[in-house]
């Protein structure tokens, strides 16, 4: 799904952000990028979304040559990638619903699809009741959930998250991680750059550790700090939600969890987009039947 081959990135002015980095991420994997500030995590994310081009090396995203593609093809690539950032990047003059719908509208999706998909995704992130609010009226955690909803409403193959919990307190972060985990379980590949030890340790997923632009560790079920394998297995795989107090939103989240399993996979979704109302009607009946 994501492949980097001997990627080096040198910024203008000679700062070497990444040096000879090779990564292979399979479809459906959940990968943490960890490391101190300036180690190259964000650069890696920016290369994967083709915000930057590598100085050297090749990058394949969802089977497409991201490094070498002409810039007019980039919009198409971006439609298979969802992105979440530390600063949410929501439009302040649009409501929650409009912010999520925006991702569908600007890529020219039909209106009935917007009406159909946006409420579904808002339910998934537990914000159905707040779809008419403006970002200013929401807490940081809620804003980030809107941003995740927007990233996912396209049903992307890949979700890239650059410090999505960087501005949030630990309890709120857990809520975001649960959503990302659920999104991952639908088959979406998730890559998340983070500083958050607690999250990485609790999730027990693949960890790629960067230091000064190089990969120093790539461990399939790792923690933030490198530990001996025995120690790792000793760490209980606590579900992140255990520490959090169940709020209304949390309960809604849990309720949405069941539905998420029934959400169309991206293959179904591609069909839904390609065909018209009928397909969606079929889809609905299929869900009801299952």
């Amino acid at each position: 799904m994501i492949r980097l081959e001997n990627v080096t990135k040198v910024y203008d002015g000679g700062v070497v952000a990444l040096k000879d980095v090779s990564i292979d991420v399979a479809k459906g994997e959940f990968v943490f990028l960890v490391g101190p500030s300036g180690s190259g995590k964000s650069t890696l994310i920016r290369l994967m979304m083709r915000e930057e081009r590598p100085t050297n090396g090749d990058i394949w995203i969802a089977g497409k040559p991201a490094a070498k593609m002409p810039s007019w093809k980039v919009p198409h690539l971006r439609r298979s990638i969802g992105t979440v950032f530390q600063d949410f990047k929501l439009l302040p003059n649009k409501t929650v619903f409009e912010n999520v719908a925006y991702a569908l509208e600007v890529t020219g999706r039909p209106r009935h699809l917007v009406r159909d998909q946006v409420p579904q995704v808002l339910k998934l992130v537990g914000l159905s009741a707040k779809s008419d609010r403006y970002p200013k009226q929401l807490s940081g955690g809620e804003q980030q959930r809107v941003s995740v909803a927007r990233a996912f409403v396209n049903r992307p193959l890949i979700l890239l998250a650059d410090e999505p919990t960087g501005n949030l307190d630990p309890a709120t972060s857990v809520g975001i991680m649960r959503i990302l985990d659920r999104i991952n379980r639908t088959g979406t590949t998730v890559v998340m750059a983070t500083h958050d030890h607690a999250i990485v340790d609790a999730m027990q997923r693949r960890v790629i550790q960067l230091e000064r632009g190089r990969i120093v560790r790539d461990q399939s079920r790792g923690a933030y700090e490198h530990r001996a394998p025995a120690e790792t297995t000793a760490t209980p795989a606590v579900p992140p939600s255990a520490e959090a107090e169940p709020s209304v939103a949390e309960r809604e989240l849990a309720a949405a969890e069941a539905e998420l399993a029934e959400l169309p996979t991206e293959e179904d979704y591609a069909e839904t987009i390609a065909d018209d109302d009928e397909t969606i009607a079929d889809d609905d009946s299929g869900q009801a039947a299952s």
Binding site: M49, S71, W72, V74, P75, H76, L77, R78, R79, I81, T83, K89, L91, Y102, A103, V106, T107, G108, R111, R150, N154
Partner: protein
């Protein structure tokens, strides 16, 4: 929502959001194009008047009494490439002309009556272009059989330089003002893009096509140019109509009439120029703007 509808509504929304900046750009285009329009009209008036005056300019070569074959000289001069027409004024005609010109001067009339032979015959030569005037005069002076050449020298040269100067000036002004209008529209679009940078960033994140992001701005620039151009033409034509009589009264020697065809043609050019200025201005802005470039 259809694509065209989207482009329209986005552009109008942008313009509404930055009403003051847009007003500034439209006014800048208006003032620039109004001045260009005015200069074009002024230049047309000047050159049509100059053409009229220059039509009346002749080089007059007085012929010596010894010259036998006048017709040969006449046809010889008529073959010069810079000569439009050569007319022969016979002695008799010259005497009649002199009598008419000096009809209030009894002394001169007496002198002519006494011996009309001192009034020479002449060739009146109309140059093809005013510019050729000097050349023709000096060549005539060197021609055997020609006694004297009368030229309006300085007056003609001034007319020429006035005409050419106006042309250069109006073109230079049009270019300078056009550039200013382009810069101002570019600046307006730049600010519109800047005001919407977050939205553009998000559009690009979620995969909006370049077309989708850029066209509303392009359209906005063209619309501003169009409005400015239409205003310039409307005000220019209005001012010409309303002020014509008063100004014509002040300068009776100059004919201020401009053909309606000319006005219509230039009006269309000005409006199109406005649209082009808008398109170029926004294109420049979009191609340098870091929020737009990928």
């Amino acid at each position: 929502m259809s694509r065209l509808q989207y482009v329209f509504s986005e552009a109008l929304r942008n313009m509404g959001r930055n009403a003051l900046v847009v007003l500034g750009a439209v006014l800048a285009v208006f003032v620039s194009l109004f001045l260009v329009f005015g200069t074009l009209m002024f230049g047309e008036i000047a050159s049509s008047n100059a053409a009229q005056w220059s039509d009346d300019v002749r080089v007059e070569a007085f012929l010596s009494n010894e010259l036998r074959n006048v017709e040969r000289l006449q046809s010889q001069i008529a073959e010069w490439s810079d000569v439009a027409e050569v007319a022969f004024v016979s002695k008799a005609e010259a005497v009649e002309n002199a009598k008419r010109i000096f009809k209030d001067n009894q002394q001169v009339l007496d002198l002519i009556a006494e011996d009309p032979s001192f009034i020479p015959a002449s060739l009146r030569i109309r140059p093809l272009d005013l510019q050729d005037y000097d050349g023709i005069a000096s060549r005539l002076e060197a021609t055997p059989g020609v006694d004297e050449v009368i030229s309006a020298g300085d007056a003609v040269n001034q007319l020429i330089s006035l005409r050419d100067g106006l042309q250069v000036f109006s073109w230079a002004l049009a270019v300078a003002l056009g550039a200013a209008a382009i810069a101002l529209i570019a600046n307006t679009i730049h600010m519109a893009v800047y005001a919407r940078r977050e939205e553009i960033e998000i559009m690009k994140l979620v995969g909006a096509s370049n077309w989708y992001v850029r066209v509303p701005f392009l359209f906005e620039g063209m619309l501003e140019g169009l409005i400015g151009g239409l205003l310039a033409v409307a005000v220019g034509l209005g001012a010409y109509r309303l002020g014509f009589d008063q100004i014509q009264g002040l300068v009776p020697l100059i004919d201020l009439t401009v053909s309606p065809d000319f006005l219509l043609q230039r009006a269309v050019i000005i409006v199109l120029f406005g649209v082009v200025v808008g398109a170029v201005g926004s294109t420049i802005s979009l191609s340098v703007h870091r929020y737009i470039r990928t």
